[in-house]
Amino acid sequence: MNDAGVLIVGYGNPLRSDDGFGWHAARLLAADPRLAGARVLTLHQLTPELAADIASASLVVLVDASVVDDAPGSVAVRSIQPRQDSPLSWSHHLDPAVLAGLAHALYDHVPPIVLISVAGAAFADGDWLSPALQRALPEVVDRVARVVEEHAYG
């Protein structure tokens, strides 16, 4: 598989239980032989300086936990389209679409960006995942590998 230039970003707060899902997933993704050429990052938040990494990648996969009414552990996969909003506070955290817009505005290039989000159940203090998100980990790893594979052969 040609996954050179693939950037995988697991993000969230690893000390707030399910919010750290991206970090747990990133550890598995970094060790997955199907993704051997990919660059895997863990981040607390999406910040403006990530725009350069995004612009230089051929594919970006973001992995995050979400606060939605869906059943805990349910996985959603969606493509991110660049947006150029004007968020009031952008030094600490950017929405994935605004970050994509920033990469486009700064470097005139945005690769395909896929966001894989998992509905969280618990966001209290703690470095563990709720049982539902523990169970979702293998599915998310497979989904990421599939996205990368489809990109390589697409």
Binding site: H44, E49, P87, L88, W90, S91
Partner: protein, 473 residues
Amino acid sequence: MAREIVIDTVTRIEGHAKITIQLDDDGQVADAHFHVTQFRGFERIVQGRPVHELPSIMARICGICPVSHLIASAKACDEILAVEPPPAGADLRRVMNLAQVVQSHALSFFHLSSPDLLFGFDAEPAGRHLFGVLEANPQLARDGVGLRRFGQQVIESIGGKRIHPAGVVPGGMAAPLASETRDQILAGLPEALAATRRALDWYVSEVRRFEEEATRFGAFPSAFMGLVGPDGTIEHYDGALRVVGADGAVLAERADPRPYWEYLGEAVEPWSFLKSAYWKDLGYPDGVYRVGPLARLNVADRMGTPLADEELERFRGRLGRTPSSSFHYHQARLIEILSCLERLEALLGDPEILSTRVRSVAGINREEGIGVAEAPRGTLLHHYRVDRDGIVQWANLVIATGHNNLAMNRSVAQVARHYVKADRLTEPMLNRVEAVIRCYDPCLSCSTHAIGQMPLHLQLLAPDGTVLDERHR
């Protein structure tokens, strides 16, 4: 009728705060206060924890300057262990601290303040953001993002993470520096230096537009405080603590800055969670002094690196030996980035930096320790007392934003007196009141031990609390 204007909360700063402006019976500004409205209490959180955990816990105080807390905390722990880190361990700490100054100053100048500097303080707020900067000056926006990325990558490559890194431990560093990592950092330096010099040239070409603000934004005589090296050059990790007066004369130089209670007082006001540090000889509240990039330039004889010394000469040639307006924090910040990049180059060019001896190991040998270092926003002190088993009994932190608290309050009052008119509340007026605070780049997460969206809420209140006028943005 006396009235009060409240700006709640202040935007484009690190944390939550509000500003109240008190009007007198004639509708003129009588006084103004900068309130820090969040409380975190790290001094209590660490009580009962083993001292070896402190650097990691204290790094959680702030996501912008965690390295400063790591270093001040580790230095306090060094004293409790009664050890000195091996030279390479100390130099790696210096590298991380310098990289943090670069990334934090880049955030402050390019992300938080450049919209005001590019579009002016009278521009519509809807356009004063990063995309606006990108449209008007794409190179400036790219340079800002690039410099912050460079600093973050240096921290990540040594500390393992860009936010809340580890790597700095009591006694030195957890691991030596790999030659590949050093080479990667060195490879990024030429572009970082070029970006900083472009930004400095742009700033100097634009700054004359702001001559009025420069005479109103915290323009008053005060003392300045910061660390200096043995040869009087700017220093961020160690050295003597020097205080200069408004004329640049040295008021005090503490070869050992650790017994801070001998020269600094800490006052508490009921309207803020932020302590007000003051120079004891001058008393409270007259003992106003400033710390941070402008103060470090004002206390230093020179920067000690060629490019930064050229810029310091240009700075002093235009503004004098000891510029007193806080507006000049912006240029000082850029000069300091340049200095940090040059120092990084020198430190990483020394083969000793790759030494595998980076940590001194010891048990609990003292029951008290104080760590002093320069954080991006100014001098930072961590003071711990432990029991014989190394369990923390007491902690006190004196944070850069606390040193600047009196100066920030005086600056807000100065701006408000000039720009705020009682009969109308205008956007440019409010922006200037906020912008003077941004000059200091206060970090309220550090100083009170929150992040989030920071909407501006302004209220005009009658003495009985009735809201006479109100604005949100």
